[in-house]
């Protein structure tokens, strides 16, 4: 094999791919969609919060109303109290008036605390329209705290002291493994999952592009010129590299955008995930990403080599897509227990290795040596597949109409 024709073909492939409308649209659209999916909920929460709420309370026990301190102390961004808590006399007349005022939206909500509430009778919360479950939980918790304080006081216990004694502590998780720097496991999990998902999406997409590019050479009949000057293996490598680097370019743009966002908003979830990824070792992730990319691209190119139309290729892509999907779901389930023997063994199997070894390495389960071994496996497999695909391609070029059966493909591999 010769490097120069590979480069010529890869460059043409790259330029053709990067210039397509879909590439430009996807490159712009995906960060926009991702940005919007983060920004819109944040915006909605912000737009939702500043309103002051008027809460009417009828307290038959006479003990709860004064203990609702936590609600009264909450402040809005502009310093006004978040809740205006109004006392309503606990008479049937006043209660029914208060309910009427909720309907008229004079009160945002009305809470009726029956005399038996201290002993477990339900407290009733009246609200207009669709209840906001988060707010109900919040207010309910405040009432519960007040009621518990009443009960504790009745038993002669000091509520302040009880709170102090039953305070829970935060639970920090740190994974330690074979001389690796201790990592905040949770952050590493999130980062690795983000990488796994990104890898799955781009492999599926650019794999299909590779198949398409091989099939298009046949349908456009350019292939006859190509294989009369370069070897089929050179052609395959050119296609795989060209399409692959187009995919990496797109990812590079996305990563750059993410980096920009995380610098601009250091407190955002994006920034935190990004820092966690950086913590896991960016070079290792990139190496697995790229090698996985080329391994699957060569498989997808193989699909293109035995098909004559894009429709046919769409069907035949399924086995490869399934293989990728299995790797993806193994990683998804493996993230709960990346130390399991199953995941450990499969992380050396070339077709699963890029995703699973990335996962194990990312969470500190595998050493650099493990990563190296599985990487060599991936690269050898890629080389074998690309060569085999080149041979199949050479003999499949002039085949039109019927699809090659498996036995025919094997026969060709032996003959070529």
């Amino acid at each position: 094999m010769n490097g120069r024709p590979v480069l010529t073909i890869a460059r043409r492939e790259y330029i053709a791919r990067v210039r397509t409308k879909s590439f430009v649209v996807m490159t712009v659209l995906i960060p926009l969609i991702m940005g919007a999916s983060v920004a819109i909920p944040m915006f909605l929460v912000k737009a939702d919060s500043p309103r002051q709420r008027v809460l009417a309370v009828a307290d038959e026990t006479g003990l709860v109303f004064d203990s609702l301190r936590s609600l009264r102390e909450e402040r809005l961004a502009d310093g006004r109290p978040r809740y205006v808590v109004e006392r309503v006399p606990a008479t049937p007349r006043a209660v029914s008036d208060a309910r009427g005022l909720v309907e008229l939206e004079a009160y945002d909500a009305f809470v009726f605390v029956p005399a038996g509430a201290v002993d477990g009778l339900p407290v009733t919360y009246y609200t207009n329209g669709v209840p906001n479950s988060r707010e109900i939980d919040h207010i309910g918790a405040a009432f519960n705290r007040a009621l518990i304080a009443v009960r504790l006081a009745r038993e002669g216990l000091d509520p302040e002291r009880i709170t102090a004694l039953t305070r829970s502590v935060p639970f920090d998780v740190v994974a330690l493994k074979k001389g690796a720097t201790p990592k905040t496991a949770q952050a590493a999990f999130a980062a690795v999952m983000a990488m796994v998902i990104l890898m799955y999406i781009s492999l599926t997409m650019y794999g299909a592009f590779t198949t398409q590019s091989v099939v298009n050479d046949k349908t456009s009949r350019v292939v006859e010129i190509l294989v009369s000057t370069v070897s089929p293996t050179e052609l395959m490598y050119g296609k795989i590299f060209g399409t692959g680097f187009a995919g990496l370019t797109q990812l590079g743009i996305w990563v750059a955008v993410t980096l920009g966002v995380s610098i601009g908003m250091p407190e955002s979830a994006i920034a935190k995930t990004f820092h966690a990824v950086a913590d896991v070792s960016i070079p290792a992730l990139i190496v697995f990403f790229v090698s996985g990319f080329f391994l699957y691209a060569s498989l997808y190119a193989g699909v293109g080599a035995i098909c004559t139309t894009n429709e046919e290729a769409g069907q035949l892509q399924l086995p490869v897509s399934l293989l990728l999907m299995v790797a993806f779901f193994l990683a998804m389930s493996g993230v709960n227990d990346p130390g399991s023997t199953l995941i450990a063994v499969l992380s050396y199997v070339p077709f699963f290795a890029p995703i699973l070894m990335m996962l194990r390495f990312g969470v500190g389960e595998a050493s650099w040596f493990d990563a190296g071994v599985s990487l060599v496996g991936i690269m050898l497999t890629t080389a074998i597949i690309a060569t085999a695909v080149g041979r199949i391609f050479r003999l499949g070029i002039l085949m039109t109409g019927k699809r090659a059966s498996l036995t025919e493909v094997l026969r060709r591999l032996r003959k070529a």
Partner: protein, 305 residues
């Protein structure tokens, strides 16, 4: 490079039980045009694909300048496939540069070559290919696409050019221009293998021919010799009555009605005077002429044998 540009030695190729090419031998000299002739499906394209190592022969050998055809020597061949194919969304210029680079030209050399060849391909009364450089291939007419592909075949100054049905789909202006290009190639010492079933074009261009049928060479050699060997087997005859009494038999192989009489092909070894004698017995002969066969005649004769 030494040795004959192209030699085929007893080359055979089968697809399943079909023998596409059967024991074919061929040699092509520098500065000559050889016509690879034959009806559709006779094995011309399969032969060419074996020369370009797209297919590998089952037996026999293909050599380019004495070297095995499958090697790097292929890059010195210019190949115009029968099935034309260009990337539809590339611009003409980019595409031509790409094709040149595939043949090991550097980017600079490639650009210069594209410039030079586009000048040469300016036909009378038509815009220069240079003016469509910026257009995408899919925006060109079919004839223009053919021209682009032909330029792409010649950019790297090949010393052997293989053209598979280059005339198909060309109008008379482009056809005549292509003939000029082929003659220029020949004059500059390039060996040209021309596969076609357009006999009138082959007749005007070829020094040698190789006529194949069912994968076998049925007639081959220098065009002039092939023709003179078949001379005195074709006569034109005009009489005062219809030549309906002339039927194929042991003397006459075929009778074709032409505007003012009949064109008769004789059986191998038959004497032209016997035909005249037979005609005189039944009618008054107004014209009797022994004619030189056309390549078309030879082709039909060879194929119907």
């Amino acid at each position: 490079m030494n040795g004959l540009p192209l030699v085929l030695e007893n080359v055979s190729k089968s697809f399943g039980s079909t023998r596409a090419v059967d024991d074919l031998s061929l040699a092509l000299r520098t500065g000559s045009v050889c016509g690879l002739l034959g009806p559709n499906g006779s094995g011309k394209t399969t032969t060419i694909r074996m020369i370009m190592s797209i297919l590998l022969p089952d037996s026999g050998e293909v050599r380019l300048w004495g070297a095995p055809a499958a090697g790097a020597v292929r890059k010195h061949v210019g190949y115009l496939p029968e099935e034309r194919g260009l990337y539809a969304t590339m611009t003409v210029f980019e595409h031509l540069v790409f094709l040149a680079e595939l043949h090991d030209l550097s980017r600079r050399e490639a650009k210069n070559a594209v410039e030079e060849w586009s000048e040469r391909f300016t036909t009378n009364g038509e815009s220069s290919p240079k003016s469509w450089w910026g257009r995408r291939v899919q925006e060109l007419s079919k004839g223009q696409q053919q021209t682009v592909q032909l330029i792409g075949t010649l950019l790297h100054r090949p010393e052997l050019v293989i053209l598979d049905e280059p005339f198909s789909g060309l109008d008379p202006v482009h056809t005549s221009h292509l003939r000029t290009v082929i003659r220029h190639l020949k004059e500059s010492g390039v060996a040209v293998l021309l596969s076609t079933h357009r006999m009138e074009q082959a007749e005007r261009l070829c020094d040698d021919i190789c006529l194949i049928h069912h994968g076998r060479a049925v007639l081959s050699g220098a065009l002039r010799e092939v023709k003179s060997a078949a001379a005195s087997r074709f006569v034109e005859l005009r009489m005062d009555r219809a030549p309906d009494f002339l039927k194929p038999d042991d003397l006459i192989a075929e009778v074709e009605m032409v505007s003012d009489g009949a064109r008769i092909r004789l059986q191998q070894g038959a004497d032209t005077q016997m035909v005249l004698a037979r005609a005189i017995r039944r009618a008054r002969v107004l014209k009797f002429e022994i004619v030189e066969p056309s390549l078309d005649d030879l082709f039909i004769e060879a194929v119907s044998r």
